[in-house]
Symmetry: C2
């Protein structure tokens, strides 16, 4: 197979410029590009290679997953898995039996998976592809397991939509909390009220200036009380707060779902 | 502050060449380099910015943490945290109360943290620094909480040792499972015994050819039975299997530790 050639290859520019893309051109991703991205993904610094992944370019599958949040024009849809099934096959082949704390295995596996995801998103940018992460993958685990024949003790962590970005989509580099609010030398720093408000202001004014929420109309409704916040002031801190007001899970707890898919927490 | 200038900036070369470094020169990391690396870390694609981090350059702290696996010549030691404490302050400031499933919050937070970690390791490489991850951070959470004054509901996920690599350290690019064993189109593939053995052979022969385990003398002892495997054949699959034979945790389960640090799973 011929070797794909990246379009952007400056590490710091790719890291700095990366933002989610949700609308993609009807242009398929060549095999060699996809292979190069996947290989870059698995170069991640692993604990135990507890990550495998499913991907699809099947239009019907992508369409069928739209109600679960997959963007319609996605060209390649990836579901990285925490894969203890595969790891146990390696162990058994060596004559060993798995006898580990599944919580700790998931803890390590989530890191393995996310390190792969980070490389995948950066490598995709390098090949001129855009991407967006779908955090809801575990919520639709039952459907994914069925669609992709995922065995017990392998579990989808996140979804990753890839494609050549539609230049018509308005995206900008999104703000982040200031470093003084996120990185502490020698001692954790509890922010003063002033510092807290300043950090929140960076996020809120940043997203408001980009018309992020009003363009997308994605205000999270309040479960109780009158919602007095309109899109003139609805911004990141309000949005991210509302995500954590309710349980965030409609099909039983994540632990129960993981149990159903073969993990043990006893 | 002057802006630091990277040494290596080719995204794909940095991803491809990255390998753990454990021995560092006695050369401190300038403030502007550290700041650039931290900023690159926090450009990661976040769910909810549930990551903050503690770092130290204090020789005494680094020395005191050596028994917990920190490499002696580490110049900057970073502990990324899942930080629900900070998130709840933001929520409270907006007049909201956290009422979320902590398991799901940890699930999302671990991803946020690991995406930051991936960027940190790549950006560090870009500035000519080496790094190694320490998975045992949660096991020594009590000590870290005390040393760095970490509040309840913030928790160290992993350690990251940084420094200018000592050129005397022998490191090579480590093997990975073949893509055919890790990435499946449309349907999860259970390997045949032949495919399993082939994938394991890539890892085992790769590490043996690099003298990885014999150089480091890090064979994991078997808890029972006679250990008939010597360093001529002891390689990655045996090592990673032995890690998952026992509980891997000496101070109660990870869930109990997380409970102690303020997380709820009821």
């Amino acid at each position: 197979m011929k070797s794909a050639r990246p379009i952007y290859d400056n590490l710091f520019e790719v890291i700095q410029n990366r933002r989610s893309k949700r609308i993609f051109l009807e242009k398929s991703v060549p095999d060699d590009v996809l292979e190069a991205i996947l290989n870059a993904g698995f170069r991640a610094p692993f604990a135990a290679q507890l990550c495998s992944l499913i991907y699809t370019r099947d239009r019907k599958k992508i369409k069928d997953l739209q109600p679960m949040g997959v963007y319609p024009t996605t060209q390649v849809l990836i579901f990285p898995l925490i894969d203890l099934n595969r790891h146990e096959q390696v162990m058994n082949q060596r004559g060993h039996s798995y006898n580990f704390d599944d919580t700790l295995a998931l803890w390590l596996g989530l890191q393995d998976v996310s390190l792969v995801v980070a490389n995948l998103t950066l490598a995709a940018e390098g090949y001129g592809l855009g991407s967006v992460l779908l955090g809801a993958a575990p919520i639709v685990a039952d459907e994914l397991v069925k669609m992709f024949n995922i065995p017990k003790r392998a579990f989808p962590v996140v979804g990753l939509c890839l494609g050549y970005p539609d230049p018509a989509e308005h995206t900008e580099i999104r703000p982040r909390y200031p470093l003084s609010f996120s990185a502490f030398e020698d001692k954790y720093h509890q922010p003063s009220n002033k510092e807290l408000l300043e950090a929140m202001k960076v996020m809120d004014e940043g997203y408001l200036a980009q018309d992020y929420y009003i363009e997308r109309q994605i205000k999270i409704p309040l479960l109780k009380g009158k919602d007095s916040i309109d899109y003139d002031t609805y911004s990141w801190c309000e949005h991210i707060s509302r995500k954590f007001i309710s349980g965030g899970w409609s099909k039983g707890s994540l632990l129960d779902t993981l149990r159903k898919h073969g993990f043990n927490f006893d």
